[in-house]
């Protein structure tokens, strides 16, 4: 915190030295339409100055809880008059400024030469709605909103224990965004907490409008395509992660919380896994892994087989392939490459469009252009089918950031496969695995519990074991309390 103050001092050096006075405030608030200076006469000798920024405060409440009590109050001290709001005395100019811009009203009692701040934040914001990015059929429907306080409430309701700590930091020299670090004391490994704290203190940037930007400063591997922080707007996911021994960062003005440390395999876990029956959940999880592998390798395999290894194609399939490929102008690589880029364009376009137009676009892009491409002889219908399958398969990954990374991996493997066939694909996969193997998320290995190996954690890895069997927290998260149950005496 000290460091922060020093920084802000450096920025506003000239003003910092000035003393706290109405004049000084007027000086810095010049040309600000929404800055208000109000004088209230309580008695002849007593005047109280109110300084506030209109857009940041709750104006109705201003009347209710400050002006009315002050005018009708006869007591000498302001603190005694205003009873239903907290009152903070301000010693310095910097503190005054900070309070002013965080939505407080500054009160100056000229008679006592006393500066006070009353927080009266404007409550404008979204109500709690259901999550749109991580939708589930069953389970809790609430999701985070842009206000960090509200988000903390949602978590606290689920974890009503005093061990749940919430430490607040401020990042961004311009945005002054508050970041709340949450963890369960005595459970979460203190190394995680200290690592994150250290990294947050090192952040030196002006503006943060999303948690992913905060994540970018906390990550150890900037050039990786794999996210090292999980982003979620579901309080239940956050709560579950906290319970496992992870830390959570809530960033103000964004509904997405950051969860760390995560592993590659966390990207494939959906909150619904813990709601479904374990056999079904396991099956679905395996399907997700399979579809990830499929979405990444299907088209490279097509290219490898059609350009290098015709021996591997079953004769029945070969009949179809030869027929559909015989009149195409492009080699399989360029055919696949063009189609994949095209699919990415459609995907991106349908995201940017309003919902209703997006659907139309999907229909036009997917069916009309796809079919037309085949009929015009730009792509083989086998490839169209495969592009369709792999695109749909890529949507099965619950983590959205991973879905994006998917296409890049696919393109990379595509290039390798056209170079060296299956050997190229294998080498590409080796490179990806070696990369994953060397990644870390807040200094924890990204590919655990496979590498490094934690046998016990495999119960919740490729399958989701029955909850009654998962009596211990995952070892790879190194929690201080491994057991989930209370030991009976």
């Amino acid at each position: 915190m000290e460091k922060k103050q020093i920084e802000s001092k450096l920025v506003t050096q000239s003003i910092a030295e000035s003393e706290l006075s109405i004049e000084a405030l007027k000086k810095i608030l010049v040309q600000m339409d929404d800055a208000e200076f109000v004088e209230i006469d309580i008695s002849d000798i007593r005047k109280i100055h109110l300084v506030y920024i209109r857009t940041l405060i709750d104006q109705e409440k201003l009347n209710e809880s400050i002006i009315k009590p002050l005018t009708s109050c006869s007591k000498p001290s302001i603190q005694d008059c205003i009873v239903n709001s907290s009152i903070i005395p301000i010693p310095t100019f910097i503190e005054a400024k900070k309070q002013l811009f965080s939505g407080s009203i500054l009160l100056f009692d000229s008679s006592q030469n006393l500066w006070l701040a009353v927080p009266l934040k404007n409550p404008i914001g979204r109500a709690i709605e259901s999550s749109e990015t991580e939708t589930i059929l069953f389970g809790a429907k609430d999701s985070f909103s842009e206000q960090v306080e509200q988000n903390i409430t949602l978590i606290r309701r689920r974890l009503p224990i005093h061990e749940l700590k919430a430490e607040k930091f401020t990042v961004g020299s311009l945005s002054e965004t508050s970041v709340v670090l949450m963890y369960i004391e005595g459970l979460t490994n203190p190394d995680f907490v200290s690592t994150v704290k250290e990294k947050i203190s090192e952040i030196n940037f002006d503006l943060f409008f999303d948690s992913s930007q905060v994540a970018a400063f906390l990550e150890e591997h900037q050039n990786s395509i794999f996210p090292q922080f999980q982003q979620t707007d579901r309080p239940d996911v956050v709560t579950y992660s906290l319970e496992l021994g992870k830390i959570t960062l809530l960033v103000d003005n964004t509904p997405f919380a950051l969860v760390a440390p995560i592993t590659f395999f966390h990207l494939f876990q959906s909150p619904e896994d813990y709601i479904n029956r374990w056999v079904v959940a396991s099956f679905l999880r395996i399907i997700r892994y399979v579809s990830f592998i499929l979405s990444v390798t299907l088209i490279p395999f097509y290219v490898a087989l059609t350009t290098h290894h015709y021996q591997m194609i079953p004769i029945q399939t070969l009949l179809v392939l030869v027929d559909s490929r015989s009149k195409l102008p492009f080699t399989p690589f360029w055919e696949a490459f063009i189609m994949l880029i095209f699919i990415e364009i459609i995907k991106e376009a349908s995201l940017r469009m309003p919902t209703k137009t997006g659907q139309t676009l999907g229909v036009i892009g997917g069916i009309v252009i796809g079919q037309a491409a085949v009929e015009a002889g730009f792509a083989s219908n086998v490839l169209i089918v495969m592009v369709g399958i792999s695109t749909i398969a890529s949507f099965l990954i619950p983590n959205y950031l991973m879905t994006k990374a998917n296409s890049l991996i696919q393109l990379m493997l595509l290039i390798f496969s056209s170079l060296l066939g299956i050997i190229g694909i294998a080498l590409g996969i080796i490179a990806i695995l070696a990369h994953l193997n060397s990644l870390s998320s807040i200094k924890q290995p990204y590919f655990s519990p496979v590498s490094p190996f934690f046998r016990k954690d495999w119960i919740d890895l490729f399958i989701r074991g029955p909850l009654v069997k998962m009596m211990e927290r995952p070892e790879h998260l190194k929690p201080l309390k491994l057991k989930r149950y209370k030991t009976r005496r």
Binding site: Q311, G421, L427, L433
Partner: protein, 376 residues
């Protein structure tokens, strides 16, 4: 960019890693050609016997790993042998590593060339394999050791396919007869040394001491790894006997891959190509580990220990090895007789290194009176 510390040590790895390292380093290249040299069914017993011999070697190895010296790495060796001798030995070691690297990489590239890309120059394949090995190795020793798990999970399952050969109509018990040797030919000695050499590989664990967490269970884990290899060797050898019969076995150059070619799968007609590609995981892992060892050894040999390890240095040594390997490929590997010479050389070198390295270290330890210490 963060500075690369190739030989940094943050974590130590427990017995499981030692086990997998032993196993995967033994399953490199020779097992692919082994059945065509073993030929006779009674070689099963030799396989098992040499496996037990290798166990003894591992016992010596674990003794060294248990000392405090081993976890000190280079300094430990200096304490044991003295700096000059260490430099000399590591200089010799360079050739052993180079030979092993050449045999496994060139052998495997040739297999790929034979079965997948008949018109491709093996030098290209070596280049590509090295490119990726370089990437894996550039992540440092720690991550490379950890990569053994991935390599194990990606390759081990393949052996289960060979169960197919243990069922009729292919399996006939009479293919395994006679079970005892009736006469002992000279070729059998070659087979014996081949087996010994294919069990070699774990001696390189000597140099990985700093990264291995050792305790009194270490030997047990090493033995598990070795036992797994024995099982795999015997399993594959019996499968190849059942499939080819011992008469045809000697005529097939790559028996294991030819067997894999017989598998049928409704999705891929030739599953052997997929299996070969997956086998690359193991190769890349081993080659990257050897590359790092080579780089480390060359640093010791040329007295550059004080300099920090760098990616550039690694790249340079990889480049040197690549040049060396292209030369070996052109001069030896491409002509059959010379390739045989190289194989025999590796068979002998592998046997010698596997036998002597742990033995000498333990003998010197005894002489200097290094006490065991059991770290927890």
């Amino acid at each position: 960019m963060e500075t690369h510390q190739l030989f940094k040590k943050n974590e130590t790895y427990n017995g499981l890693y030692a086990m997998l390292l032993v196993n995967r380093l033994q399953m490199l290249y020779f097992f692919l050609i082994m059945p065509s040299i073993l030929i006779n069914p009674y070689m099963i017993w030799v396989l098992i016997a040499v496996g037990i011999l290798s166990q003894l070697n591992l016992l010596l190895l674990s003794k060294w790993l248990l000392t405090r010296l081993s976890s000190n790495g280079y300094n430990g060796f200096v304490q044991l042998f003295g700096e000059k001798l260490v430099r000399f030995l590591s200089f010799i070691g360079l050739f052993f590593i180079l030979l092993k690297l050449s045999v496994i990489t060139l052998g495997f590239s040739e297999i790929i060339q034979t079965f997948m890309f008949p018109s491709t120059d093996t030098n290209f394949l070596v280049f590509f394999i090295f490119l990726f090995c370089c990437y894996v190795a550039s992540k440092g020793v720690e991550h490379t050791i950890r990569f053994v798990l991935i390599s194990f999970f990606c390759t081990f399952w393949m052996i289960t396919f060979f169960v197919f050969f243990f069922f009729p109509p292919i399996a006939q018990l009479s293919d395994l007869y006679p079970l005892i040797p009736m006469d002992w030919k000279v070729e059998n000695w070659k087979a014996f040394f081949l087996i010994l050499s294919s069990y070699s590989g774990p001696e390189f664990l000597v140099f990985l001491g700093p990264w291995l967490k050792t305790n009194n269970k270490t030997f047990r884990y090493l033995s598990y790894g070795n036992a797994l290899t024995v099982v795999e060797y015997v399993f594959l050898f019996i499968a190849s006997l059942l499939y080819f019969g011992s008469n045809y076995l000697s005529k097939s150059k790559y028996p294991i891959i030819n067997m894999a070619r017989y598998f049928q799968n409704p999705v891929f007609e030739r599953i052997d190509m997929v299996m070969l590609s997956f086998e690359l995981f193991n190769l890349v892992f081993a080659v990257s580990l050897f590359l790092l060892l080579f780089y480390g050894a060359s640093k010791i040999a040329f007295g550059k220990m004080s300099k920090p390890s760098s990616g550039k240095g690694l790249l340079f040594s990889v480049f040197l090895i690549f040049i060396g390997m292209v030369l070996v490929n052109e001069l030896f590997w491409k002509s059959w007789e010379k390739q045989n010479f190289l194989l025999n050389l590796q068979i002998i070198a592998g046997s010698i290194s596997y036998f002597l390295v742990p033995l000498i270290i333990v003998l010197v330890m005894k002489k200097k009176g290094v006490k065991k210490h059991a770290s927890t």
